[in-house]
């Protein structure tokens, strides 16, 4: 049995023209889109954070352990700060990655700098996430004068 000519695959004349079949995926495109999407969210998250922590009341003078305790007993601020931490770390790390790629032309230099960057990313995100989820606003044996009012309700 032989194949009939009609069974041969003939490319459609309307096939989209591709100069080069891509083998590397669209990583840089997604990173570019992510910078814009996360940037918009970060404007809301960080402006809110700065307003509450620096503008309301006595501003920076209000910030102490009790202030943080009062905020992080609320799931609202836990989610807010967690989202801010993750988005800002991805956004910032990706930005610095771009800058390293632009200016560090030697392979070794670029490799070392990016390794340090990713290490800082992993440590900071892990530490920050752990702190938000394991925070104890009213630790036993602590000086009551340093705790949030919510500890005495």
């Amino acid at each position: 049995m032989t194949t009939t000519p009609s069974a041969q695959v003939i490319p459609s004349p309307r096939d989209p023209y591709a100069r080069r079949k891509t083998t590397r995926g669209n990583y840089e495109l997604y990173s570019w889109v992510f910078m814009r999407a996360s940037g918009v969210l970060l404007i809301v998250l960080i402006f809110g954070h700065l307003f509450v922590n620096l503008m309301v009341g006595e501003g920076v003078h209000r910030i102490d352990f009790a202030f943080v305790g009062g905020k992080w007993t609320s799931p609202f601020w836990q989610v807010w700060d967690l989202l801010m931490l993750w988005l800002a770390m991805f956004h910032g790390t990706n930005g610095v990655r771009t800058i390293i790629n632009d200016y560090a032309s030697r392979d070794l230099t670029r490799g070392i700098l990016k390794t340090l960057l990713y290490l800082a990313f992993v440590i900071t995100v892990a530490l920050g996430t752990l702190v938000i989820f394991t925070f104890e606003p009213c630790p036993a044996n602590a000086d009551p004068a340093l705790l949030a009012s919510i500890c005495f309700e």
Partner: protein, 127 residues
């Protein structure tokens, strides 16, 4: 020295310098973020440890640093919106230069709202 050719977005003049400022402010904010997560993590050590370190943020010198940090964030945020408009708005590239002056105007207005309040908190009496 040859003039940058007219009509380019990112070579010379407003296009390039806003790009430079965006990078510089971005890197500054990133390194502060690393430090800020570390200092906040002290809440897991003890109330005393956190209060001691955070009191450093209340000194006049650090207060000025916070003003600089907020300035960097506000510029990066507004110029970031401008970058998005240049990328996605069909008329963005044509108005990129005008938009930079809008960014700088909004920057001045925002800082005029923030600075007096913050500096009174930092340098004002009663603490």
């Amino acid at each position: 020295m040859p003039e940058a050719p007219g009509g380019t977005l990112y070579r010379g003049r407003e296009g390039m310098w806003s790009w430079v400022a965006h990078r510089v402010t971005g890197v500054l904010i990133f390194f502060f973020l690393l430090v800020h997560v570390l200092d906040t993590s002290l809440v897991r050590v003890s109330p005393e440890a956190y209060n001691v370190v955070i009191s450093a943020y209340k000194t006049p010198i650090m207060g000025l640093g916070e003003a600089g940090l907020v300035a960097a964030i506000v510029f990066h945020a507004f110029n970031g919106v401008r970058v998005i408009l240049v990328d996605y708005w069909s008329k963005g590239p044509r108005y990129h230069r005008v938009m930079l002056y809008v960014v700088l105007g909004l920057f001045v207005v925002t800082m005029a709202g923030f600075l007096p309040r913050h500096l009174m908190n930092v340098f004002g009496g009663g603490h």
